[in-house]
């Protein structure tokens, strides 16, 4: 047994040597987990972090190479040919770009040739989406040569015309548009059959997921053609795969696509589809409890539209045919606050929200300063804290600007409410140099003698990355040390990453699923280097 200490020492030396070799690899990812060492957050094969609420370890995000985020002084161009299909898609039918750590470099495409400028050495994710072709995604590793070539082999996709009809043979989208629903029908292709709804989305549709893309015509007249198709589904792999028809995030029908199939036809009972729509009742009252007549109510998606109503004399309103999902909920009336929140509506929900209280309009004025106390011009967004709950996003549809002396006035604030106010300067050419600041401020009918200040700090980019492909939605809530929210990012299945700009400091990171169940709760330390956190 006396040999053990010596063996441990020897193994430690070997470990150090191997670790050094690992780190010296070009474009090396962080080292794998070891029982004795620290684990970087995006290490392949790393020990999964504890995900129970309040019990996780400190997230020590792995530092990214700062050079990667800086604009490269010696720019590299990647160019090449698009090959493999004849005829090639048109230049404007190719969507090709390289990305890495929040940097996105689009390609110029001309007659089957492409070029991407502004790249730097290392690994980039290349994504090429071309009409009629399979989605091409690959990593490319660039060396220091100023011009590098890589031809891209396109593969013809199986393309199926899509027809979505009611049981009576009408076009479902046309019938839904009679209820004010102009979009939101979408087909997705998946390898496994989708058996339930997806997580709610604030967007009008869930976007392209899985193993294909649903391309729909932008010609409004096409919708009037009773025999017209509802777009095409391009598959990234050969059938069999499963196709699901969604109304926003709600599953209406699914079927298996067989090899050799020439079209995709869904027949959906119109009543069954419209039964998925929600109904919302509410009464709008003022701070004294008196009903507010002619209050404007809106339940909309991120793209607008949605259901709208005015309250009657008794302050009540009923909104019918509301698309289920995550809705932006806004109420406004004369001399009152701009009430802005979110609602998640389940399919076929009939909800009575009870009384929605509109506070009296108040002024929330303040000043934004830099670390030296100098006024700074910037943009501001604000969210009423008592109207927000996870996993909902913060309010991002209303903006105010601080003037050149840093003075600002937020509009539509309600007397007595507390707001999370986020201030952000415009960085030079993108996010570099961006300064951000947060404050939790109260709005009152009588503004304080000394206006509150928001201090801006240099911001560090925190990348949020979902490693696993899949159909899960995550909401990431960044809280300050007092556990008050300062930022929220919702990462839907169509995007597997997002980013947040935060001043250096200690935070708490909460991760929720799309239904609002908290998956993890952990401290977060943000330094001066860009960092990545892997989810969940």
């Amino acid at each position: 047994m006396r040999i053990l200490p010596g063996l441990v020492a020897l193994q430690a030396i070997v470990l150090v040597v191997l670790f050094t070799k690992w780190c010296q690899r070009p474009d090396a990812p962080p080292p794998p987990a070891t029982a004795a060492g620290l684990v970087a957050a995006d290490t392949p094969g790393a020990t999964p972090e504890a995900s129970s609420p309040h019990a996780g370890p400190t997230t020590t995000p792995d530092p990214l190479d700062r050079e990667r985020l800086a604009v490269a002084t010696s720019s590299i161009v990647l160019h090449g040919l698009l090959v493999g299909v004849d005829p090639l898609p048109g230049d404007d039918e190719v969507n090709l770009a390289c990305r890495r750590d929040g940097i996105w470099r689009p390609a110029k495409v001309s007659r089957g040739r492409f070029a991407i400028a502004g790249l730097s050495p290392g690994r980039w994710q290349l994504r090429c989406e071309s009409r009629g072709c399979r989605l091409l995604q690959l990593d490319v590793v660039l060396d220091h040569e100023p011009v590098q070539r890589r031809d891209l082999e396109l593969v013809r996709a199986v393309v199926l015309p899509v027809f979505v009809r009611t049981s009576q043979g009408q076009r479902l989208q046309t019938e839904l548009s009679k209820l004010g629903i102009w979009q939101s029908l979408q087909v997705i292709a998946t390898e496994q059959e989708l058996r339930s709804d997806l997580a709610p989305t604030e967007n009008s549709s869930v976007g392209d997921l899985g193993v294909g893309r649903h391309r729909r015509s932008t010609d409004l007249n096409q919708g009037n053609d009773p025999n017209g198709d509802d777009g095409v589904l391009e598959l990234d792999r050969d059938p069999p795969v499963f196709a699901s028809l969604l109304l926003r995030h709600v599953l209406l029908a699914s079927q298996r696509i067989e090899p050799g199939q020439s079209e995709l036809r869904f027949v959906v009972d119109l009543e069954a589809a419209t039964a998925k729509l929600a109904k919302v009742r509410l009464r709008v009252v003022d701070a004294a409890g008196q009903p507010v007549a002619k209050a404007r109510i809106g339940l909309s998606s991120a793209q607008g539209g949605g259901a709208h109503a005015l309250t009657t004399d008794d302050g009540t309103a009923t909104l019918e045919h509301v698309l289920p999902g995550l809705c932006h909920f806004e109420v406004g009336a004369k001399d009152t606050e701009n009430y802005a929140s979110h609602l998640t509506l389940a399919p076929a929900a009939e909800i009575d929200l009870g009384d929605v209280v509109l506070h009296a309009a108040s002024k929330l004025v303040g000043r934004v300063v830099d670390e030296h106390g100098q006024g700074v011009s910037c943009s501001l967004q604000w969210t009423a804290l008592d109207l927000w709950q996870p996993p909902h996003p913060l309010q991002d549809r209303r903006n105010a600007a601080a003037d050149g002396d840093g003075k600002f006035e937020l509009w539509g604030t309600g007397a007595g409410r507390r707001y999370l106010v986020r201030a952000k300067t415009q960085g030079q050419r993108g996010e570099r140099g961006t300064r951000v600041g947060f404050a939790h401020l109260g709005a009152s009918a009588t503004p304080p003698a000394e206006p509150p200040t928001i201090v801006l700090h240099e911001a560090t980019m925190l990348q949020l990355r979902v490693r696993e492909p899949g159909l899960t939605t995550f909401a990431v809530v960044v809280r300050d040390r007092d556990e008050r929210p300062v930022e929220v990012r919702v990462i839907e299945p169509r995007w597997r990453e997002s980013s947040v700009l935060l001043p250096e400091g200690e935070y708490v990171l909460d991760v929720y699923d799309g239904a609002g169940t908290r998956l993890s709760h952990r401290p977060l330390l943000v330094g001066t280097e860009p960092t990545t956190v892997n989810l969940p």
Binding site: R25, V77, H79, K108
Partner: protein
């Protein structure tokens, strides 16, 4: 104790061993992964494709240098030796935009044109980067242009020789002359603050109705009317500090209303205007960084205009109470206003300028009119007649059925309503069939598509129910080049019969094409100072070119 220590050593030993195995596995896998991700070697026979080994003679050709006098002089691009081209990739044109320290240009765009073509072959919007690359080019002459906030428009001719793989052109941008403008009320307060609580003076524009413009010459008190929301008569670009968040002058002190960007270094005049009405103007010297314009809100109020009109039946002259009237510039739309029981509409506190007048009334139409509202005055239009419309039908033949067609109907009859002008109607054509309700009278119909066009004059009183048959003919293009036009000028183009084909103020510097039937045209250019020059230009079957200067 001893066994506990041994157990600890054993655990540490196993943990280390596991770490070694993991690292060894990862290192063993690494070469394969690196291999599969490595950049492809140059294709066989294409040794030049991985590095720029050739470049262009990027100096403008002698005959083209004169055409670029509006752009700053640029040093010639260095030209490394050329190498044979690969047939498949064409030539890769790449480069970097370089700007002086302290300048942070926004919204940069690089565009590549084939020769003198007015439509860009390729464009790149640079955001967060200063590099561009255009692939797959053939040998030939090209124009490379850049534009962006804070920099002067830049143009360079380049020649791509045959057999060149890569051409590198770095473009040194030149910063514009930026003048910070303080817009103050007479009491020294920022004008925006002084206007708070005076909605009639704030208008519907988010940064207020006062615009700041520049000219190389002193301005008259009243510029020619335009139907745009803000006057186009300026040689500078105004960026309000009170613009949308995230865009604009984020670091300006609050007293500064915005910045004016001037793209030439010469003495100028800077003015505050309400549309085309000049409120105040001051001279600025080259390099001057800041200027103060004092505007009295009372002066603004005194410039607001009033309009009165009465909608009547064209035959009986009886007032119509069920009409709604719209007064809009060409970039805005406001809800039409209902007239009174006597058919009268009186609108006050309007910004002076040109408006498009529209009348909504059941089963009747009004003549297509523009209205010029004089500053500080009541413009009484008297009676505006409305009548049953003539339904014009036309079928269009010739060319590709799918081609997009633009239709303009220019009224030709004299306008009987004082204070008004004739308003052209712009329409779209669906499936080659045109149907439009018109105020009866004479019109000139003009249809243009891709290289095709037709023109026809008609009088609705002489047309029957049958559709007009319009056949499109191939038409050449006249390239108009205003890059050397120092100041706004009114361009009028007429053919041999006196028909006017163009009558508009040119307030911009660029090249564009106007499709015209072949033939000889007279042109005239008249500046704000009234000076006029004229000449003739031939538009042959292959086209023509007219440089405005």
């Amino acid at each position: 104790m001893k066994s506990r220590a041994t157990r600890a050593w054993l655990v540490l030993n196993i943990a280390e061993a596991a770490g070694i195995v993991l690292l060894l596995q990862a290192l063993a896998a690494a070469p394969a992964a690196a291999e599969s991700d490595a950049p492809l070697p140059p294709a066989a026979g294409n040794p030049a494709t991985v590095a720029p080994r050739s470049s262009t003679t990027a100096e403008p050709p002698p005959n083209q240098a004169a055409k670029t006098t509006a752009t700053p002089p640029t040093p010639p691009t260095t030209a490394p030796p050329a190498t044979p081209a690969t047939d498949d990739l064409g030539t890769l044109l790449l480069g970097t935009l370089q700007w002086p320290p302290g300048v942070d240009p926004n919204h940069l765009q690089v565009a590549l044109y084939a020769g003198e073509a007015t439509k860009a072959l390729l464009t790149a919007s640079l955001s967060g980067d200063q590099n561009f690359a255009f692939p797959g080019l053939d040998a030939g002459d090209y124009r490379l242009t850049t534009r962006g906030d804070g920099t002067r428009p830049f143009e360079r001719w380049i020649t791509i020789p045959p057999g060149t793989d890569v051409v590198r052109v770095d473009l040194p941008l030149i910063a514009s002359w930026i003048v910070k403008v303080a817009l103050l009320a007479p009491d020294g307060k920022p004008l925006a603050e002084a206007l708070k609580g005076q909605p009639e003076l704030l208008g519907s524009i988010f940064d207020g109705p006062v615009q700041v413009i520049a000219s190389w010459q002193p301005l008259p008190a009243q510029l020619p009317f335009s139907d745009q929301r803000q006057t186009p008569f300026t040689v500078g670009q105004w960026t309000s500090a009170r613009g949308l968040p995230g865009r604009g002058n984020s670091d300006l002190p609050a007293r500064i209303a915005g910045t004016l960007e001037l793209r030439q270094d010469q003495p100028a005049v800077i003015a505050a205007v309400l549309r085309e009405c000049v409120l105040t103007q001051v001279p600025v010297e080259v390099g001057q960084q800041e200027v103060t314009l004092t505007v009295d809100p009372a002066q603004m109020r005194a410039k607001l205009a009033t309009v009165r009109l009465q909608i009547v039946d064209a035959t009986t002259r009886a007032p119509l109470a069920d009409a709604k009237v719209g007064l809009n510039d060409s970039q805005s739309w406001r809800q039409p206003t209902a007239v009174g029981q006597d058919g009268v509409l009186l609108q006050e506190r309007l910004l002076p300028g040109r408006y498009q007048l529209t009348v909504q009334v059941a089963d009747r139409v009004a003549p297509p009119l523009t209205v010029d509202l004089v500053p500080g005055r009541l413009t009484d239009l008297g009676q505006i007649p409305v009548a049953a419309p003539f339904v014009l039908r036309a079928t269009v033949t010739g060319g590709d059925d799918g081609a997009e067609l633009n239709v303009t109907l220019q009224p030709l009859d004299a306008i009987e309503v004082p204070g008004t002008g004739r308003r052209s109607l712009r329409l779209g054509v669906r499936k080659r069939e045109l149907k439009v309700e018109l105020w009866p009278g004479r019109y000139r119909l003009r249809i243009t598509g891709k290289g095709l066009g037709a023109a026809r004059e008609f009088d609705t009183h002489q047309l029957g129910l049958a559709a007009l048959a319009i056949e499109l003919q191939t038409e050449p293009e006249l390239q108009l080049d205003s890059t050397q036009l120092a100041e706004p000028a009114l361009l009028v183009l007429t053919d041999g019969r006196g028909v006017v084909w163009c009558d508009r103020w040119i307030t911009w510097q660029s090249r564009w094409n106007q499709q015209l039937p072949p033939g000889e045209y007279r042109w005239s250019l008249r500046g704000l100072d009234g000076n006029e020059r004229a000449g003739a230009v031939m538009v042959a079957a292959a086209g023509g070119k007219l440089v405005l200067q």
